[in-house]
Symmetry: D2
Subunit: 387 residues, 4 copies
Amino acid sequence: MSAKKDLRIGLIGTGFMGRTHSNGYRRVPNFFPQLAYNPVLKAVCSRNREKVQAFADQWGYESVETDWRALIARDDIDAVDICTPNDSHAEIAIAAAAAGKMILCEKPLARNVAEAEQMVEAAEKAGVQTTVWYNYRRIPAVTLAKQIVDSGKLGKIFHYRANFLQDWTISADVPQGGTGTWRMDVDAAGSGVTGDLLAHCIDTAMWLNGAISDVSAVTETFVKERMHQLTGKVQPVGIDDACIFHCHFANGSLGLFESTRYARGHKALYTFEINGEHASIRWDLHDLNRLEYFDHSDESIVRGWRSIHVTDGDQPYMDKWWVPGLGIGYEHSFIHQVADFLKSLETGEPCSPNFRDALETQKVCEAVIESANTRSWKDTGVQTFTM
Amino acid sequence: MSAKKDLRIGLIGTGFMGRTHSNGYRRVPNFFPQLAYNPVLKAVCSRNREKVQAFADQWGYESVETDWRALIARDDIDAVDICTPNDSHAEIAIAAAAAGKMILCEKPLARNVAEAEQMVEAAEKAGVQTTVWYNYRRIPAVTLAKQIVDSGKLGKIFHYRANFLQDWTISADVPQGGTGTWRMDVDAAGSGVTGDLLAHCIDTAMWLNGAISDVSAVTETFVKERMHQLTGKVQPVGIDDACIFHCHFANGSLGLFESTRYARGHKALYTFEINGEHASIRWDLHDLNRLEYFDHSDESIVRGWRSIHVTDGDQPYMDKWWVPGLGIGYEHSFIHQVADFLKSLETGEPCSPNFRDALETQKVCEAVIESANTRSWKDTGVQTFTM
Amino acid sequence: MSAKKDLRIGLIGTGFMGRTHSNGYRRVPNFFPQLAYNPVLKAVCSRNREKVQAFADQWGYESVETDWRALIARDDIDAVDICTPNDSHAEIAIAAAAAGKMILCEKPLARNVAEAEQMVEAAEKAGVQTTVWYNYRRIPAVTLAKQIVDSGKLGKIFHYRANFLQDWTISADVPQGGTGTWRMDVDAAGSGVTGDLLAHCIDTAMWLNGAISDVSAVTETFVKERMHQLTGKVQPVGIDDACIFHCHFANGSLGLFESTRYARGHKALYTFEINGEHASIRWDLHDLNRLEYFDHSDESIVRGWRSIHVTDGDQPYMDKWWVPGLGIGYEHSFIHQVADFLKSLETGEPCSPNFRDALETQKVCEAVIESANTRSWKDTGVQTFTM
Amino acid sequence: MSAKKDLRIGLIGTGFMGRTHSNGYRRVPNFFPQLAYNPVLKAVCSRNREKVQAFADQWGYESVETDWRALIARDDIDAVDICTPNDSHAEIAIAAAAAGKMILCEKPLARNVAEAEQMVEAAEKAGVQTTVWYNYRRIPAVTLAKQIVDSGKLGKIFHYRANFLQDWTISADVPQGGTGTWRMDVDAAGSGVTGDLLAHCIDTAMWLNGAISDVSAVTETFVKERMHQLTGKVQPVGIDDACIFHCHFANGSLGLFESTRYARGHKALYTFEINGEHASIRWDLHDLNRLEYFDHSDESIVRGWRSIHVTDGDQPYMDKWWVPGLGIGYEHSFIHQVADFLKSLETGEPCSPNFRDALETQKVCEAVIESANTRSWKDTGVQTFTM
Ligand SMILES: NC(=O)C1=CN([C@@H]2O[C@H](COP(=O)(O)OP(=O)(O)OC[C@H]3O[C@@H](n4cnc5c(N)ncnc54)[C@H](O)[C@@H]3O)[C@@H](O)[C@H]2O)C=CC1
Ligand SMILES: NC(=O)C1=CN([C@@H]2O[C@H](COP(=O)(O)OP(=O)(O)OC[C@H]3O[C@@H](n4cnc5c(N)ncnc54)[C@H](O)[C@@H]3O)[C@@H](O)[C@H]2O)C=CC1
Ligand SMILES: NC(=O)C1=CN([C@@H]2O[C@H](COP(=O)(O)OP(=O)(O)OC[C@H]3O[C@@H](n4cnc5c(N)ncnc54)[C@H](O)[C@@H]3O)[C@@H](O)[C@H]2O)C=CC1
Ligand SMILES: NC(=O)C1=CN([C@@H]2O[C@H](COP(=O)(O)OP(=O)(O)OC[C@H]3O[C@@H](n4cnc5c(N)ncnc54)[C@H](O)[C@@H]3O)[C@@H](O)[C@H]2O)C=CC1
């Protein structure tokens, strides 16, 4: 244990993601004891001193800050973890890069491509290690999907489809802006479901199936005006409540994506499916330990979709957990990403997706929004996507 | 078409089964045109002349009878189809055998082993072709299960489990006896769920997994008294509302069976599962076009239960129906049994299960009831079961 | 029975649909005995005399024709049923209308809007009763969906999504044109999956959710050339192998549709889902007796998607069939449409969808293809859709 | 934070359960910050010094012991957590009680009733707080089931059924005894699947549905001899590979239980179902965040089993975790039990099940084994079960 190197973390933002990441740092030493690096919870920052102190006590951070600039300025921080709303990602990340810190940034990388490009430039210029928390890649069933795709079992790919359906903003009484509902405020969020939910679908999709070349989208804002938390006034809603797009992948397959927060009955239904010449795969976040797999090479009379319960030791990450049949949860995807980030420090390999990879996802998001606004196809400008 | 031989049917009983069988006779020429025999709906019998005439008109029977003895006495009938409540099966079947008629009898063969043995003796002495409507064998997914078992894919069998769960008699207001509720009257039915529902499970089980050697059972009558339709009086209920038993099969596997009419939420949940050394199978009547199959020889990381949608032309009976993906229904099991019975006339093979096979099932039912009554294990006396 | 009026049918085309319709006519008297009209299988037509005679024998048609014009010319035919490939629908229907026959026409109504408009004009001018076999409406679970929508349980609708996924043309060896594969030949079919599969999805969608106003589509032809059965030559493929579109409904909801014959593992996966303010519905052809329903007004801790097994007597059409829990099949949707057509003759109400309704669906299909070809949004021109 | 009281834990056994419990102690402060007690990982014990030190390093225990007696003798331990094989539970627990320690003991409480009674006596005499790790009670969906039962929604109960199916000992090459396979050695384990798996099912069952009065069981040992790890010799197998029993509950309902390690395709399929007069419930460990619920009072045409995704803040324990739709895993049941144990120290209430509750479960297990051995019904001697 003494031989381990410390990675001193400074976390900014103590909301939902602040908790999942803190849990990630705390769990990794217990479940990935062989890693050479050990995360040290050096400091945590959010604006209210009392609340951030309570958070620090709860999670075991050594110290607190109320100004992220102060946190970045500290010498005893190796890596800055950005868990704040989207409108602050760019500013914080650029400052962190300038200070020579490694950066772990929440998704979407930024509100738009312009911000994202500056972040990439800053990080690359500084030569700092980066990663973006597109955490779904590291749910074992999803990682297994990648393994199956890479094995060539699917053959030529024809179709990719994904959706991310929620139902929590149907009521017109949900406000916009401020704590808890910054996602409804276009200034804070950059976009609605596109950056919030489709960004995940796009990241997974390009990881599994390569670059998305062009897109044709439609968006809708069902509730046109909502009270703004900060102004107290009813104001126009600037975000997309729902977004649908179809697209071409560079490999010739067709893509189909949908996201909404108005799908009554679905809390967080992220599903994807890939149809290849020889085999198909599908996955569903509501049953996250399972992967469905259809293999056309099975004997015809007993051929069918296989329901794979991804809980065996020879399946991705699962040697770290319990015994066959015993599932893990959502939070484990973050633990795995922490472990992979630490591992990347050992190996010198990037911990995908890094800022540059996440910029590509940002480009697709932006093309989607532009396509919807102009009612026309848009090229994404993404050429290749391999990480 | 002219070359076809007629099989002149006389049907007794115009209730639920009278309809499914009539439909079977009417459909076979359309879907099994290559059969050498053609069913002719010669006569139908039930006690009310007006009602039986309406039934004859609806289904195209040439004539009606109100006394089954008259029907059996007719020269123009080749085969008698018994669709009456259980208490009349023996008497009708024995008379039909004496008259040299082929017999298609509804299940359970009789109310008890004594009646069933007389029926077997009568039929065998008369040398008439028989079949008993344990129709579930001929649902394509179930027939496929048999095919898989026979292929040896499962290896040594360890477990067989089945249940048949309903919920229609929970109300104490459901009466017993008479039309519609003769199943609740032990004199008419012989037993409750044991003969009505478990008999199906036992037939399928022995067909798929061989003889059941001994049983240990429990039964329960939740509602102790019910109004009797015929007497108008509240009388003790003599049937088993629920029955559970475990057993040994001759092949060394363990069996587990349960049936009840008090399983709120289940209309007709007949399911079975077989666990073998190498593979397992399960099936569910509520989703009858599907068979689930687990094959341990699949590559480990992509191993899982396969959901086989049994609607392809190379799967049992399905070349007669539509195109892949398009399911058939409950009633088709009867059409298939009619077709197989007609085929058996061509080939001279028995159309399983015949009376003798059904007697074995009756023995298990009776041992189950006795076991429950005596709170002890009972040998069934069944040695082998291959049909 | 004697009081029944005959409806003398002349059926053209003895393939897949020739069989489902013939079965519909044969089954209706058995299961819908109270109808005032009785279908009489007067004549059947296809081009090969031997084959059509065999079909007539199998299904009980009184006579055969090998030229559909001869069939239409007959006095003893009341209604012409068109079960031929799409390229002949218009010509036959227009001739039938001119001859004053009622017309039951397979879907899609025609290859394109121009043909469809002529058919509507001819039928309306002749004042003949028409219906188009968008049969999925009459699967009980789908009819129940309509009932739920009409009850207002869903509230304001936000989303409609449907797909129809198949996998039978993945192999480049599948030919185009001629018997069995006319669907692959654009001249015979008019389009690929759009007219063949999406037409069903669009019909159901507009029936459940009203007019589709505008569409934005993409199509793909994965295998660019295939051998043509008639010429024996490898020729360009003119159909769409896959089609995806999103759209606006007149009621403000967003729609999303996808169809393909390259979705490995899916035989005939027609699914749809509607998300409303208060409740949602979804359905899947592979499990056709079930409807899933989510009702937000359920008590929160026990709220969830309900899996409704649509087999009870108080659910649409199910009083005609068996007992709760026992499912029916694909073919029953055609039996129900025959019954409803006969009923419409009694009541004088149209049997929806009629030619005019189906023309609206055709307009959407055509707008979809045009949108894909021009990479732009297209108005459908459909104003309202209520039938 | 400073105001918290320490609960100094001494853990014995560093295998599978040693890990789940250690994780429980580590997670509780992060997710249940409001608890008055704080678990302190004071010491951990297992026999190999090097291994136990590595475990201590990994999990943050302050010190190690290699003899459990030494651990119990320590003054700085408040509570002893027993995570060793079954044959040592009694000896360790009795010694711990004598030393005045609180005891958290793994299930089954002991190998048999005689041992269990001594443990209860010792603990009660010492007046120490106890709990037994029947952890499944604290999976949120299972706790919700309890809440529903207690609400009276189910009405009179008719049926309870549960199974626990595994497939890991099918190969005759699996040895018995020693590390990893002590479960196969009757001396170490007390029994086979009965104590290992059915004990869980029985605990949940009596918690949800009250006392089990009498049982009728069958057991089977499919592989009669296995190599013993400690002797290196092939020896008779003394455990039950499979066990099935039916029973009466004190409330008049029928029970049905099955467990096996020979159910090919099932890794850890623990399911249970309760059928009541008005409603039913079922649950499945392979999909642990879901509870299925059928409520007969739903409007009939839209009635069906509800699939409840138990991830909302108003459902048991879920306010401590993430957001709706995001599932948790198996390990969380142990975190919840730690939290509840700490809470019980605050409130003075027992943390069920305590030793006395677990003794009742032991009685049922023993009656089951005896029933199987004597092929007869056995009374369990359990009168009431409320905790
Ligand atoms: N990977 C994933 O699946 C998810 C990613 N996210 C992303 O994580 C980020 C945060 O989202 P949530 O945690 O859900 O939001 P949240 O609203 O729960 O938490 C945001 C936190 O940032 C703090 N904060 C805001 N401005 C700050 C400032 N100037 N200085 C310091 N602290 C500040 C707030 O006090 C709060 O603690 C967003 O970019 C979001 O898109 C969110 C949820 C899931
Ligand atoms: N294979 C299967 O899955 C099923 C088998 N059955 C079996 O079929 C038989 C009939 O059951 P259901 O059709 O459900 O009963 P049902 O009550 O619907 O019909 C019974 C019919 O028998 C007639 N009948 C009664 N006594 C008669 C007599 N002496 N002479 C002439 N007709 C008489 C009644 O009028 C009625 O038409 C039973 O043995 C039952 O166990 C029933 C349902 C399903
Ligand atoms: N409602 C539904 O779900 C379905 C609708 N259809 C529609 O039904 C129609 C027929 O399709 P299928 O039955 O699958 O095709 P098929 O290829 O199985 O049968 C077509 C029949 O038409 C006959 N035919 C072709 N040209 C003819 C002519 N000039 N005169 C007389 N007969 C002629 C052929 O001999 C053949 O019997 C198509 O419009 C198709 O789109 C098809 C399948 C399902
Ligand atoms: N609640 C639940 O769901 C589960 C409960 N269990 C129970 O937990 C107990 C342990 O099972 P596992 O963790 O699976 O076994 P395991 O074999 O993984 O671990 C047993 C541990 O006990 C240690 N040990 C054995 N004898 C010892 C001694 N004399 N002194 C100190 N340490 C000793 C071993 O070195 C090993 O670390 C059993 O009673 C078992 O029934 C096990 C698995 C699941």
